[in-house]
């Protein structure tokens, strides 16, 4: 946050203009021109209303506003129709303002402003157009059977998508303005009566005091409004899928939509929700429960397996049976490195491969996978740098961490592996236990906008137990639409 604030006054060309709109058309146009210097696509279009009796100017940013709309729905009615207050156009979404700042904000969104001579008020017509993409499936969160719709970049579109999923007047979208000069705002979408009042007010409060000027993505917003900054775990779920968001809305959560960001923020987050996917609801409940348990096993493996290997090899070899022990001993005998170094070497290689694979185009990415997985692994074992067991363990942890459906969570969990490995190399299994204790303590302590984060661990009285570690059949879980109470 401080980072953003420091730069505020340096590059900002749009200082707040505390002027009212003047009754002189020229003054208004001059003011606008002064604000928008070096803006080539700013268009002023003089028109004469009502048989040239009243002068007016339409102002808009070309390419940001929908010019066809202006030419068809604003200019002809204005020029031909009777002059009225408000002027007669065929655009329903417009408003009147007397603040210059508001017109500037409107312009930047792609609206068209109408200034009139002898009027100290301007009209803002919604002609938002500009570059946008069609609705596509989310590449990032794929599902097998879910709907193939993903959020786009415009707020209106995203809210509309949610409305399609939940056609109910109870679906509310409250606009919340953020701090800062750019007047950024987000929408809080929620189901009235299902979402909790106190969470709504808390969230609104937090968003309001955030400076949103330099937010490109909703991830930045999430970081600014989360409860605990010292946590590896994401405290809000970001989703690109409207159906996922709709499921969460039904559970009483609040969906935050930011313009220009293709994902929506779901608050409050709970650790369980990061291990759920839309497909859990489209497959049969037994399979879904099985898959969910599988994910938890995967989490345990990906956090603890390398640490466990280190502690067994360096400290507590008593706990594995002698046959396995001898096999490990034989494969370790020629390795020059300490188990920790061996594990770190392989884990870091793996993380690098993964990171390399993400940014590369798909065909090249595959090559990286093959080179990394097979060539490096095999060669390292043959060269006697790492043991066979280490390669198996690293591959297992890699696969396990890919099972976690949420990317942010999967990153957080991957990160946890390293401190665990270090503490295991210092204290063996006692170290792992202390690490686990700290982890549980941390999760239990975390809260997301005031509601407990680790509901998985206290399922006794949380009402969404039926949809946590197991997915109970829908006809059983039907009653529990409420989010957990405590």
């Amino acid at each position: 946050m401080r980072f953003f604030k420091d730069r505020k006054n340096v590059t900002d060309p749009k200082r707040p203009l505390e002027g009212k709109i003047s009754s002189s058309l020229q003054v208004n146009i001059f003011n606008i021109k002064q604000v928008f210097t070096l803006t080539p696509n700013l268009i002023f279009r003089d028109i004469k209303l009502l048989d040239r009796q009243i002068d007016g100017t339409l102002v808009y940013l070309q390419d940001l506003a929908d010019v066809k709309k202006i030419e068809k729905h604003i200019i002809p009615p204005l020029c031909t129709g009777e002059f009225d207050q408000p002027p007669h156009t065929s655009i329903a979404d417009f408003k009147k303002t007397s603040a210059l700042q508001e017109t500037i904000n409107g312009l930047l969104k792609g609206n068209t402003i109408l200034f009139l001579q002898e009027h100290n008020e301007a009209y803002i017509y919604n002609t938002v157009g500009g570059p946008s993409r069609t609705i596509e499936d989310s590449i990032f969160e794929t599902t097998l059977k879910g709907s193939h719709l993903g959020f786009g970049e415009t707020t209106d579109q995203n809210i509309a998508l949610l409305q399609q999923f939940i056609p109910s007047p109870k679906l509310k979208a409250a606009e919340v303005k953020m701090e800062g000069d750019l007047n950024r705002h987000v929408y809080l979408v929620y189901l009235e009566g299902t979402a909790k009042e106190e969470q709504l007010t808390e969230l609104t409060k937090r968003i309001k005091r955030t400076n949103g000027d330099q937010f490109i993505n909703i991830g930045q917003l999430a970081e600014c409004i989360e409860d605990n900054h010292w946590s590896p775990f994401p405290q809000f779920r970001l989703t690109e899928r409207p159906d996922q968001a709709a499921i969460d809305l039904f559970k009483g959560k609040i969906c935050v939509v930011l313009d220009r960001s293709p994902s929506a923020l779901i608050a409050p987050g709970s650790i369980m929700s990061f291990f759920q996917s839309v497909d859990d609801y489209t497959t049969r409940w037994m399979l879904a429960s099985f898959v969910r348990i599988l994910r938890f096993v995967a989490v345990l493996i990906s956090i603890f397996l390398p640490a466990l290997y280190i502690s067994i090899v360096s400290f507590n070899y008593e706990i594995i049976p002698i046959r396995l022990l001898i096999t490990i001993g034989e494969s370790r005998a020629e390795i020059p490195f300490d188990p920790l170094i061996e594990a770190l070497l392989m884990e870091i290689t793996l993380e690098m491969l993964r990171e390399a694979g993400i940014r590369l185009p798909a065909p090249v990415g595959q090559t990286v996978g093959i080179v990394g997985g097979i060539v490096i692994g095999q060669a390292a074992v043959e060269a006697g740098i790492v043991s066979n067991f280490m390669v198996i363990i690293v591959s297992l942890t890699a696969i396990s961490s890919f099972i976690i459906p949420n990317y942010d969570m999967s990153l957080g969990i991957r990160l946890m592996r390293f401190p665990m490995m270090i503490i295991a190399s210092l204290f063996g299994i006692v170290g792992i236990a202390v690490g686990f204790m700290t982890l549980i303590g941390h999760i239990v302590k975390l809260e997301s906008i005031g509601s407990p984060y680790g509901t998985l661990l206290n399922p006794i009285h949380s009402s969404d137990f039926k949809d946590s570690l197991f997915r109970f059949p829908l006809w059983k879980a039907g009653k529990s639409k409420q989010s957990s109470k405590d």
């Binding site: 002698i322 022990l325 001993g329 210092l426």
Partner: protein, 371 residues
């Protein structure tokens, strides 16, 4: 400010943590004693043998064996330290071989003290009595077998499953030693070219050698002590023909289920045990017999034979003044007052008690063959 304080705190903690961890020993730097042997030589000096696996691929012999003279296990380890390159650990000890000469001396059990005192030594280690010299067993490295300690350990485990022997761990040995109602029994191996299991060695209430029983008697002992049965395989010969070996009449069977009832009373200054064993058996082999047709006759013959064998075995226990079956537990549970008087030497009191054994046999299955 606050963050700085926490950072300082966590820095101090991590410095503390990093400073003191001396327990780390990597698996390849450990010399794991998989098998330990204790024996006496001709001059009654104690020799300690140890057998350790070698991990390095450059070495062709996969096990190394050492022997030292010492007066205790821990002292012996001190001696071994000067011979071995790795840190010695008993954490994965599989087998403890004890020479028969050792257990004939009083207070030999004290020797094992370090195995019970050290939290790192394996309490699940199997104890085996060696009939002849322990050295012979330890230094025999059969080329057609896996590592010797593992081989012996596996031998006992499988034997335990088939009830040829019973796995006696360090824990069992200790609890039998301290028990006031039961005396110990330890599996015994003999060695001539190959290692083979040969029944049990029985100890008296002081843990000193009392008697040996062979494999068949060992199986009967397990029946008597109501062990949880998995696959107890018995063969009973009814008659043998000296001229033609193929005319032997015999029956081989699995004992599938065993029910034991023990009643204990105290009459005329002695304990009276009335025991009732009912065996359900599954015929696996019948030579010159027809268990289908003569079922009742067979059951009766088996019953007589088994009763006689049981009685003979128990009689021999009584003569030696030992109770490896654990009848004493019944005496304590049901005749506590009388038992308490003799609790210092239960074996002796058991020797004087009157015991009757009733066996009933039921053939549950004859197999597929009608003849």
């Amino acid at each position: 400010m606050k963050t700085k304080r926490y950072l300082l705190f966590s820095f101090c903690i991590s410095a503390l943590l990093l400073s003191g961890c001396n327990d780390k020993t990597n698996i390849e730097d450990i010399t794991m004693t998989l098998m330990l042997g204790i024996d006496l030589n001709e001059d009654n000096e104690m020799i300690i043998y140890s057998s350790n696996p070698v991990f390095d691929k450059e070495v062709s012999d996969k096990n190394e064996e050492y022997s030292v003279k010492a007066s205790s296990l821990r002292e012996g380890r001190g001696e071994l330290d000067s011979l071995l390159s790795g840190t010695i650990s008993k954490g994965k000890m599989q087998v403890l071989l004890i020479g028969k000469k050792v257990i004939q001396h009083e207070d030999w059990f004290e020797l094992l003290d370090s195995l019970y005192r050290d939290s790192f030594s394996s309490i699940n280690c199997k104890v085996i009595i060696v009939e002849e010299s322990v050295a012979d067993v330890i230094y025999s490295s059969p080329s057609d077998k896996i590592r010797l300690p593992l081989h012996i350990s596996k031998l006992v485990e499988t034997g335990d499953k088939r009830h040829i022997t019973r796995e006696t761990t360090l824990h069992n040995l200790q609890s039998d030693y301290y028990s006031k109602t039961k005396t110990g029994s330890v599996p015994r191996i003999t060695f001539n070219d190959t290692i083979n299991l040969s029944g049990f060695t029985l100890l008296d209430h002081n843990g000193i050698y009392a008697a040996d029983i062979n494999q068949y008697e060992g199986e009967l002992l397990q029946l008597l002590s109501n062990t949880k049965l998995e696959q107890l395989f018995l063969t009973t010969k009814f008659s043998t023909d000296d001229t033609n070996p193929f005319q032997t009449k015999l029956l081989s069977y699995n004992v599938g289920d065993l029910k034991r009832k023990v009643k204990v009373t105290y009459e005329n200054g002695q304990f009276v045990f009335k025991t009732d064993y009912s065996l359900a058996i599954y015929i696996k082999e019948a030579l010159n017999e027809n268990p289908y047709k003569d079922r009742e006759k067979m059951e009766k013959e088996l019953k007589e034979k088994l009763t006689a064998d049981f009685n003979k075995l128990v009689k021999s226990f009584q003569d030696n003044g030992i109770d490896p079956v654990g009848f004493g537990e019944y005496a304590r549970a049901f005749q506590y007052k009388h038992w308490k008087k003799v609790s210092d030497n239960w074996g002796d009191a058991f020797g004087k008690s009157n015991i009757t054994i009733d066996v009933s046999v039921r053939i549950k299955d004859e197999g597929l063959n009608m003849r």
